[in-house]
Amino acid sequence: MSILIDKNTRLIVQGITGREGIFHTSRMLAYGTQVVAGVTPGKGGEWVLDGKVPVFDTVHRAVEITGANASVIFVPASFAPDAILEASDANVPLIVCITEGIPIQDMMRVRRFLDQDGVRLVGPNSPGLLTPGGCKVGIIPGHITEPGNVGIVSRSGTLTYEVLYALKMEGIGVSTCVGIGGDPINGTSFTDILGMFEADPHTEKVVIIGEIGGRDEEIAAEYISERMTKQVVAFIAGRTAPPGKRMGHAGAIVEGGTGLAVDKINSLEAVGAAVAEHPEKIPDLLK
């Protein structure tokens, strides 16, 4: 009924004692997620949330003691690359990074390293994942969606909630919602998730939520054309955005004319994926 996370996910929270870490841990617990440990260097041995969750100094120790199989990261941007690498070093197979604002060169190095390492990173700058009724990893509000058969994958954060909420209003449920994050370099792409949804017997339709910049939506369109048998519906944010600030000649040369909403919409429509004109129209397209 889901991809990546489910009732068996045993989660640790890196940065659990921070303001966001503790708040969202309580939300994840309330949703029913098995948060088995937190990690904050220097606070090992403490317990948080009325003794519900033990805190460890390192991910290694947390994994060793609790058998965790996923981690969610809430640490500040300057420490987040180290936190990702620490989780990878402790062989955590799924790492979800909520932190935004990580320097791009750091992420290029981290991503290159993880490519060799076989772990899956979702994010950074991701709202996390949600398998309604099963498991919530990250910050997606739990009550705005219900279990169902639509898979969601999005580069955006809050725009994703908007879509989940619109689906719920129309009685449409979700298998898993994955926020891959809006940063230029991230761990998981649209096509990675499309492949998982295609393989998941409980997902029948898929929604892609994209935005201007990069070529991920165009690459996803190619993938849809070549590999997807399930219905795909999309929304692309930024149709009316003014042209972004230029990155000098090199940026223009590398990106060429790519990144515009209209190109993404055309690519997706060309392969049969209906594109909604605003997010609250997605439910209509799924019917």
Binding site: M108, A237, H249, A250, I253
Partner: protein
């Protein structure tokens, strides 16, 4: 964050890249003094963070210190693409026998830095990229391994650079990569890298863009931010960690998340309105930040209505509500406001706002429709 030409070239120079002798002047008199010291001819170059300086007349070749003073007087009085010129770079003039392009930037599709070179450098490089893409050669850089000598040789061969310049070119390319890497740049570009009349390579113009997210570890570079050139309102936004872009419409928008902010603008337009701004308050904004954001919106005289679209996740609706209420207590405004708050702590947020005189909306479409209606005819297409 963009660096001025003279800052970029100073940085390049630290990494062994040859640049023309030169200095920056804030006044025409200074420019004359520098021209005398360097010896003429010199070039007077407007230092502004936009393109098109040359076409706007912001670059002048002069042959005497007096001419330098005169040219600097003119250039320092100019506005280029709306930006006033406050500094000129006075560089010794170089005889140019040919112009090369050399730049390094991030290729997000490949997830690596890429170094690019072309024998046809100069102002028309983007035209070259469009019409003769084969004349721009690229080499991708492993972000862990870094740029290697053989990659510089590959570029030198591919742009058919004369062999006696290879050693210099390799040093320049390696230096450019180190400048890019050590300053967390997203772009480091030499255009043109010229072969001079006396057959040397020289970085005549330079441009660097730094990763704003990495400035925390480059306090020396962060100090170079040219606040003169930012609109006061955008500077204020940055100070509060807000992402704000002023637009020409009448509907002030406050949204959390860039994607949702863009989608909100899209929907406003779809319902016939015009957004007054893009404003992303980011994730997890507290009441202070929300208050600062609202005050920014209210400062824009074109704004006829304010629309809040908050979908709480890491951001909590109650914090947003508190920020709005605090601002309304401080600031005297009659503008109508439409609020849509959903997600984390939405009940508490709505409860708080119930006291204030705000129009509430349930859906994004609903909010946009109400806002457009309130903006009335002011929000024409």
């Amino acid at each position: 964050m963009k660096l001025h030409e003279y800052r970029s070239k100073q940085l390049f120079s630290k990494f062994g890249i040859p640049i023309p002798r030169g200095r920056v002047a804030m006044t025409a008199h200074e420019a004359k003094t520098i021209a005398r010291e360097l010896g003429c001819p010199v070039v007077i170059k407007a230092q502004v963070l936009v393109g098109g300086r040359g076409k706007a007349g912001g670059i002048r070749l002069v042959h005497t210190p007096e001419e330098a003073e005169e040219a600097a007087t003119q250039v320092l009085g100019m506005q280029i693409n709306g930006l006033p010129v406050r500094k000129v770079l006075v560089d010794e003039a170089a005889e140019i026998s040919s112009e090369i392009y050399l730049g390094v930037t991030n290729d997000r599709a490949i997830r690596s830095p890429v170094m690019m070179a072309s024998a046809e450098g100069g102002v028309d490089i983007e035209e070259v990229a469009r019409t003769h893409p084969d004349k721009i050669v690229r080499t991708y850089i492993d972000p862990l391994l870094g740029f290697q000598d053989h990659q510089a040789r590959y570029l030198a061969v591919a742009i058919e650079l004369a062999r006696d310049h290879w050693r210099e070119f390799i040093n320049i390319a390696c230096g450019l990569y180190r400048a890019y890497k050590s300053s967390d740049a997203t772009l480091a570009e030499i255009n043109p890298l010229v072969i001079t009349g006396d057959n040397r390579l020289l970085a005549l113009d330079g441009k660097m863009v730094l990763d704003d997210n990495a400035l925390f570890r480059h306090s020396d570079l962060a100090e170079m931010r040219d606040i003169d050139e930012e609109e006061a309102i955008e500077r204020e936004a940055r100070r509060f960690g807000l992402s704000y872009v002023k637009l020409d419409g009448s509907i002030g928008c406050m949204v959390n998340g860039a994607g949702l902010a863009m989608a909100t603008m899209d929907v406003v337009k779809l319902f016939g309105g015009e957004p007054a701004n893009f404003l992303d308050i980011g994730g997890g904004a507290g009441a202070d930040k929300v208050s600062a954001a609202l005050q920014l919106i209210l400062r824009d005289p074109n704004v006829k209505v304010v629309m809040f679209n908050i979908f709480g996740g890491i951001t909590r609706c109650d914090e947003v509500a508190r920020g709005i209420l605090a601002t309304l207590e401080e600031v005297d405004t009659d503008l109508p406001m439409v609020a849509r708050l959903v997600g984390t702590n939405e009940e508490e947020g709505r409860r708080l706002l119930a006291e204030a005189d705000l129009v509430t909306a349930t859906s994004l479409a609903d909010a946009a429709e109400k806002a457009v209606a309130l903006a009335g005819k002011g929000a024409s297409k």
